[in-house]
């Protein structure tokens, strides 16, 4: 194998917020019965976290899990460990109706940080990004201008944004444009 390459090779932009491509992240789409004990245990084993409730993300040092829909999670694990974790998950879930697939390379991941991060995101997503409405641990799938995207906010005030790899360029340019250094709205 050759060294894996992320969509934008770590591109970055700084304006009212800082936009950085976060590089490759290990990601597994897991579909199944989120109420099942076996699935809960398998997720915990893979990511170190319990299954998050609706519209939440659960994060640990080595990974995490985001609630995608009533029967879908996005599991986050170290990139190099995806195949191993996937195999373990598949084995653990052999007895139940579930689907786990590697989607690490299908995604691009961005970090959005700085004072203007909320405003930057609010220029492209139809979501209430005020501090009262969008709190750490919250996870949202929505529309980012003309493409689908998902994001969460961590305790450090950093948004992590996930989109499809093919539109990484579009999303990076979109966020950089929204973070124009002279475009502070001044409400968040």
């Amino acid at each position: 194998m050759s060294d894996p390459v992320s969509a934008l090779n770590g591109a970055a932009f700084s304006g009212i917020a800082t936009v950085e491509e976060a590089g490759l992240a290990g990601m597994i789409t897991l579909r199944g019965d989120l109420g099942s004990k076996g699935l809960g245990a398998a997720v915990k084993a893979a990511t170190g976290v319990d299954i998050p409730t609706a519209n939440k993300v659960a994060l640990s040092d080595e990974g995490g899990a985001a609630w995608m829909s009533p029967d879908e999670l996005l599991l986050m694990v170290p990139y190099t460990e995806v195949e191993g974790k996937l195999a373990a998950l598949t084995e653990a879930l052999a007895g139940e109706h579930a689907l786990a697939v590697n989607v690490s390379d299908a995604r691009a991941v961005f970090r959005l940080s700085g004072d203007g991060a909320r405003e930057t995101l609010a220029k492209v997503c139809p979501v209430d990004l005020s501090a009262e409405a969008f709190v750490a641990g919250q996870f949202r799938r929505t529309r980012m201008a003309q493409v689908a995207a998902a994001f969460w906010l961590d305790e450090g005030g950093v948004f992590t944004i996930v989109c499809f790899r093919s539109v990484a360029d579009y999303v990076f340019n979109l966020l950089s444009n929204a973070a124009h250094p002279h475009s502070k709205v001044g409400v968040y």
Partner: protein
């Protein structure tokens, strides 16, 4: 621009996050059905003034299809509910009755 609450994830989504899917609670007619049944299933749709039951998908969101009970003239939303049902649940029908006494839709009242 409408807002509908997705019953699966609870997000109050705006129209640009949703995809409209037409009339709800159609019964599928496949092989073995009569020409008339199949024709009606494929082509005949209600387009009422007032109470209507529709399918929507939270496409830029959790991806789930759901149902909405809505007034097509005032755009009032009586409620949203699961796609995995053959007819509106009683709670939704009660909500419609409370706002539009005497409503009817297909053979529902």
């Amino acid at each position: 621009m409408l807002i509908l609450e997705c019953p699966y994830c609870g997000v109050k989504a705006e129209e640009s996050e949703l995809h409209a899917g037409g009339e709800a609670h159609l019964k599928r007619f496949g092989p073995g059905s009569s020409d008339a049944e199949f024709h009606d299933y494929l082509f005949m749709r209600k387009n009422p003034r007032g109470v209507h039951f529709e399918r929507w998908r939270h496409i830029n969101g959790c991806g789930k299809w759901f149902h909405a009970a809505r007034c097509t003239t005032t755009l009032e939303v009586f409620g949203t509910y699961s796609a995995q049902t053959l007819e509106p649940p009683q709670a939704i029908r009660d909500a419609v009755s409370a706002k539009r006494p005497g409503w009817s839709w297909r053979d529902l009242k």
